[in-house]
Amino acid sequence: MQDMNKLVKKILDGDKEAFKEVVKAYGPSMRVYLTGRLSDRLAVDDLMQEIFVAVFWNLKTYDGKSDLGVWIRAVTRNKLMSYLRSHYSQKNSVNTMKVKIEEALTAELENFNPNENVVIERLKECISKQRDLASELINARYFENESVTGMAERMDTTVSAISSELYRIRKQLKMCIEKGTDL
């Protein structure tokens, strides 16, 4: 935290370039948080830019006593909720439910961790150990953003089967990240 406080001081002293270090440290956590909540990757990119701009301009209000990651997470959460409210501004029941579900979920989300890069690197290793089918499913669903319905159709199987396989893969990846267990 001390290093981050020094960094904040440098930025407030006019060294704008130092803000790149903040983006580098907390960008991964922010992306993880937002992509877990929004399926639209373009919206995530836009929102990240908006949030970091807000963080940049409001750094002077950061008191340095709490963890910078906690503070940025709070800014992110607020921006996400206001995005959801404006995005789902039509007051129909579907949109209201989506906002309520997200509100319930945000309580479960972890604080931003400047070491998220370590987790991501570990995940890369875990992915490289995946067998072919799992690798294909990860690629299609998470990198190509193909829908489970589309995958099921293409692979001539059911949405339920694809969902169960993705569930199993996520569990294995989680275990691999946490315990270094091979897949």
Binding site: G36, F56, I120, Y142, E144, T149, L173
Partner: protein, 448 residues
């Protein structure tokens, strides 16, 4: 966890739940802690996987700092006085009397209108269309016949062109958030006519995520032999003078062949090739049953163990392509290539004669390297391997009943031991002819 809950989670994460399903999820996240934790965790893993894919934050930093710079915090009055001081270095009025300040402000606001028009007449061609960013450099903006290296201070304007060298890149973020990346010797010009983007893409590689465009104003990309019309999607386009190859990841793109004005619509996970000599058709993309990470001189022992599921297929295609630094020095070998059945019994692929083989450089053969010498890896002779050079493909008809293809993929000594070698290769295995993948790689290597 119940299977139906797993399905609900997947549908929720891809934002395609029905109203009834959302009601069920809301009920569950409110009253079932296990489900709530499960959904939160699924979101986190999805987020982590996305972060694996989008791991560069330099571009984001640039955009943030640029946006932060654009959002000047100073007040309107400050801006007015700042503009006034451009033409008349007079002292800023001080807070003497209210009416003086008021009148000054009113006069200043009137003045600023004229000054702004005088100083910054909005000439249409000078309006910023997009921001530019080059991660690896070697990309140039061409404006009014002058060429300048791209840096974050430059903006794209109507009529600009861009040239990218072999290892260069440039990312273009349009004002509507459409993002395009050009690589591999790209040459491209940009214009906006009546609000519609038009891109003349002479050659190179383009990847794009296009924000939905306004009704009746699609993005049109003209290549030497086709027009691609885009409304909002994610795709890749590779172009040389002979053909244009379009691959769509999401959404749909209409491709028109110039020669006969024939149109096709290319949808997600499909591709089409437009060339003067070949009829245009839409095809499904074949996915590799195995793809290695990049093997280079830093990879331990310059090798990778390959295990590909072939599930009884009667066809096998072995592809080697270059890593990220061009095809130079990319000598490769498939050591101990073999098939394995469900009982673990192996059958050497070297017992079979290949049906077709093609490589970008040198010779291909059993026990020999791309130079035609004895196949060596880490100073060991390998008569049990196939030597080749990226980009290459080998096609086999294989006997039925085999579940796995196994081999060790290596960079051979003939590539690694050359002075200043930069060998880097990727191994891929297919059970259907990867026409789209192979042609794309060919197009890339021809540009190098």
């Amino acid at each position: 966890m119940k299977p139906e809950y797993r399905e609900l989670i997947e549908l929720y994460l891809q934002d395609s739940c029905s109203e009834k399903q959302l009601e069920e999820i809301l009920e569950l996240v409110t009253n079932d802690e296990k489900f709530r934790l499960e959904l939160a965790e699924a979101g986190r893993i999805q987020g982590l996987l996305s972060a694996v894919h989008d791991s560069s934050y330099d571009n984001l930093s640039q955009r943030v700092l640029r946006s932060a710079g654009d959002l000047d915090e100073s007040s309107l009055e400050d801006k007015i006085f700042e503009k006034l001081s451009l033409v008349e270095p007079a002292e800023k009025p001080k807070n003497k009397k209210f009416n003086f300040v008021l009148w000054t402000a009113v006069a200043a606001q009137i003045a600023i209108i004229f000054i702004l028009f005088g100083i910054k007449e909005p000439v249409k061609n000078e309006q910023s269309l997009a921001s530019l960013y080059s991660e690896g450099g070697q990309a140039y903006l061409i404006r009014d016949g002058k060429e300048m290296p791209i840096d974050a201070s430059l903006r794209l304007r109507n009529g600009d062109s861009i040239r990218v060298e072999e290892k260069g890149d440039v990312s273009i973020t349009w004002n509507d958030s459409t993002v395009m990346q050009f690589k591999e010797m790209s040459q491209v010009s940009f214009s906006v006519v009546d609000g519609a983007k038009k891109i003349e893409f002479e050659k190179g590689t383009m990847q794009a995520k296009v924000t939905p465009q306004s009704q009746g104003k699609p993005l049109v990309i003209e290549t030497p032999n086709s027009f691609a019309t885009v409304l909002g999607t994610k795709f890749q386009l590779k172009v040389n003078q002979l053909e244009s190859m379009l691959e769509v990841s999401r959404g749909a793109v209409e491709l028109m062949r110039k020669a006969n004005k024939k149109k096709v619509v290319v949808r997600a996970h499909e591709y089409a090739i437009s060339s003067p000599t070949q009829e245009m058709a839409v095809n499904k993309m074949n996915k590799a049953t195995y793809k290695s990470h990049e093997i280079n001189l830093d990879t331990p022992d310059r090798k990778v163990d390959i295990v590909a599921e072939i599930n009884g297929s009667r066809k096998l295609y072995l592809v080697v392509h270059s890593g990220r630094n061009g095809i130079a020095f990319d000598h490769a070998g498939w050591l101990q290539p073999r098939l394995e059945d469900a009982l673990g019994r192996e059958f050497s692929l070297l017992n079979l004669k290949w049906k077709f083989a093609d490589s970008e450089w040198g010779t291909m053969g059993v026990g020999i390297d791309a130079n035609g010498d004895i196949l060596m890896h880490k100073r060991m002779e390998h008569i049990d391997g196939i030597g080749t050079h990226a980009l290459s493909i080998i096609e086999y008809d294989i006997p039925e009943g085999y579940r796995l293809f196994k081999a060790t993929g290596v960079i051979t000594d003939s590539g690694a031991n050359q002075t200043s070698s930069l060998s880097s290769v990727v191994f891929e295995v297919y059970t259907e002819f990867p026409e789209q993948r192979y042609r794309r790689l060919k197009l890339s290597s021809e540009g190098k």
